[in-house]
């Protein structure tokens, strides 16, 4: 229990009348890489954003490094300094250079000297292979480079935990690999990581555990080989079928939910073919 970096109990979150997270329990142990997969709108981003309290949970507890972030007296700014976050849209600071992006928080909140912050930032930019871009502005970089800067920026705060929210979804296909390779290297160095992703190959190879979420709940979790290879839940199988074999989808399958209210033969949903995964 004590080596759990993340320990979430009974987490609930609603946006108005929309119940987005329904009683999530989740632990992430030190050094583990946990990948969260699931359909759009299932609450993956919201779950991740509850881990550093970018979203305020309604009920439940979120412990990170043993500190209860949902405690009203918790110093959330101090806690966030040890939780790195990487966004789908990079969110680099456009008015600062690559180096300044990586030093601004170190200097203003971690109270490091400029020279120390610069040294640490450079180290991390070397780690992501961007040491020659330190003085560029983000707008001059490709998407893949920007996302690697975002990773270096988070690493510069010496996080105990890294959160990734679909870090490669906004990238052109040929740029996905460079970001994933940085993440793979990070994982091999023992970083604790919670990753929302649609990159099934990455999850299969790098993750210690895969979590499948649907409709605000964890439907299935386990080793990648189990969840991705031989899922026990029908919803997991259907999701993987759609993600892994998008070209084999029949029109019935994706028209299904829209055709459903009209009644008729389309009501035969869910139309899951357990052998669809291994044709």
């Amino acid at each position: 229990m004590t080596d759990a970096v993340v320990d979430i109990r009974g987490l609930n979150k609603s946006f108005g009348s929309l119940h987005v997270l329904r009683g999530i329990d989740l632990t992430v142990s030190t050094g583990d890489v946990v990948c969260v997969i699931g359909p759009s709108g299932s609450g993956k981003s919201t779950l991740l954003r509850c881990v550093n309290l970018l979203e305020q949970p309604e009920s439940g507890t979120v412990l990170v490094g043993g500190v209860d972030l949902t405690d009203r007296d918790c110093d959330i700014d101090a806690a966030r300094r040890h939780i790195g976050m990487v966004f789908q849209q990079f969110n680099l600071f456009p008015h600062l250079t690559v180096l300044q992006n990586c030093t601004v928080a170190q200097v203003t909140v971690a109270k490091r000297s400029t020279s120390e912050a610069t040294r640490i930032a450079r180290e991390n930019l070397v780690r992501v292979g961007l040491e020659d871009k330190v003085d560029e502005y983000p707008a001059k970089l490709s998407g893949g480079q920007q996302q690697r800067v975002a990773i270096a920026r988070a690493l510069s705060m010496d996080p105990n935990l890294m959160l990734f929210d679909e870090p490669t979804s906004a990238l052109d296909p040929e740029l996905v690999g460079e970001v994933l390779s940085v993440m793979r290297q990070l994982a091999s160095e023992g970083m604790t990581m919670l990753v929302v992703t649609h990159e099934m190959a990455f999850a299969r190879e790098v993750a210690d555990r895969v979590i499948f979420m649907d409709a605000g709940a964890i439907v299935e979790e386990g080793r990648p080989a189990e969840v991705l290879g031989s899922p026990t839940e029908a919803r997991t199988r259907e999701f993987l079928h759609r993600v892994l074999e998008p070209t084999k989808l029949s029109t019935d399958e994706f028209l299904g939910d829209r055709a459903a209210p009209a009644g008729g033969p389309a009501m035969e949903l869910p139309k899951i073919d357990p052998h669809g995964l291994t044709p």
Partner: protein, 271 residues
């Protein structure tokens, strides 16, 4: 006859538009020529551009008046910028009372004619006889002009802050920056870059509004361009000093509006 109809019919839309434009140019040239020919130039010169008065104006206090206009404007602008930023942040604060105070302030001062504020300041010594503003007459002018400028600039700056993507704050907060630090280091620098053109426009408006100092009554050495031009025009019974003052305003405002256009142009190119 048949040939002309066929040629007009053969005109392409572009050719037709071109002919129309030439016709308009010709009309303009005729109108201008008529104006030049019919105008009584010696009378015009005597009324607006008497060379001896231009010389007298330039040597007799134009630069002092220009400097006063710049001083009044600059002080009010700085005050408006600082207070406007504070009011904008209050306007966007999660704390209700801050929001209400900021909204009330903005609505109040945007809804008043600036001259009313100046009149109030000119009369303030009646209910408060002992009241002494520091740095007179600058103190009064800066405060009166600045109070109004604050309201307008707060709205501009608020729009700029709201134009900064939400992800910027989220990234800053997720690095552990408290809300104030995130505002200061991440949001405001980007917001000011966005509102630089509209803020410069407000500076131009402020240059012109500084002419309202005539309401509070300042001594001769503190006359701004308008007051100075008017006084001299009165004593000389001629409009030339006012024309000189007008050109002096353009000397300030034209470079500023060129600057705005440049900034807007480069912002367009950046996208």
């Amino acid at each position: 006859m048949t040939t002309t109809t066929t040629t007009t019919r053969r005109l392409s839309p572009r050719q037709r538009a071109q002919r129309l434009r030439w016709a308009q140019y010709a009309l303009l040239v005729v109108a201008a020529a008529l104006a030049i020919w019919l105008a009584d130039w010696p009378a015009i010169y005597k009324a607006f551009l008497r060379p001896d008065l231009i010389l007298a104006a330039v040597t007799g206090g134009l630069f002092s008046a220009l400097w006063m206009t710049i001083s009044y404007t600059a002080g009010a602008f700085v005050l408006g910028l600082v207070a406007g930023t504070v009011v904008a942040l209050m306007r966007l604060s999660p704390v209700g009372p801050y929001r209400w105070i900021a909204s009330a302030y903005i609505e109040f001062f945007r809804g008043l004619p600036a001259i009313l504020v100046f009149i109030a300041f000119s009369l303030i010594a009646i209910p408060f006889p002992g009241l002494q503003m520091p740095w007179e007459p600058y103190g009064t002018v800066w405060l009166a002009l600045g109070l109004v400028a604050t309201a307008y600039m707060a709205e501009t700056i608020r729009a700029g802050i709201q134009a900064v993507p939400k992800g910027q704050v989220e990234a800053a907060r997720s690095l552990g920056m408290p809300a104030m630090v995130a505002s200061r280091k991440i949001v405001l620098p980007q917001a000011f870059r966005i509102v630089l053109p509209p803020l410069t426009n407000e500076l131009i408006l402020l240059v012109k509004d500084s002419s309202l100092v005539f309401v509070v009554g300042v001594s001769l050495t503190h006359f701004d361009l308008t007051k100075w031009g008017r006084a001299m025009a009165n004593s000389e019974a001629n409009l030339t000093p006012l024309v000189v003052a007008g050109f002096a305003y353009l000397l300030i405002t034209l470079p500023l509006s060129t600057l705005v256009r440049r900034m807007e142009h480069s912002a367009e190119k950046a996208h």
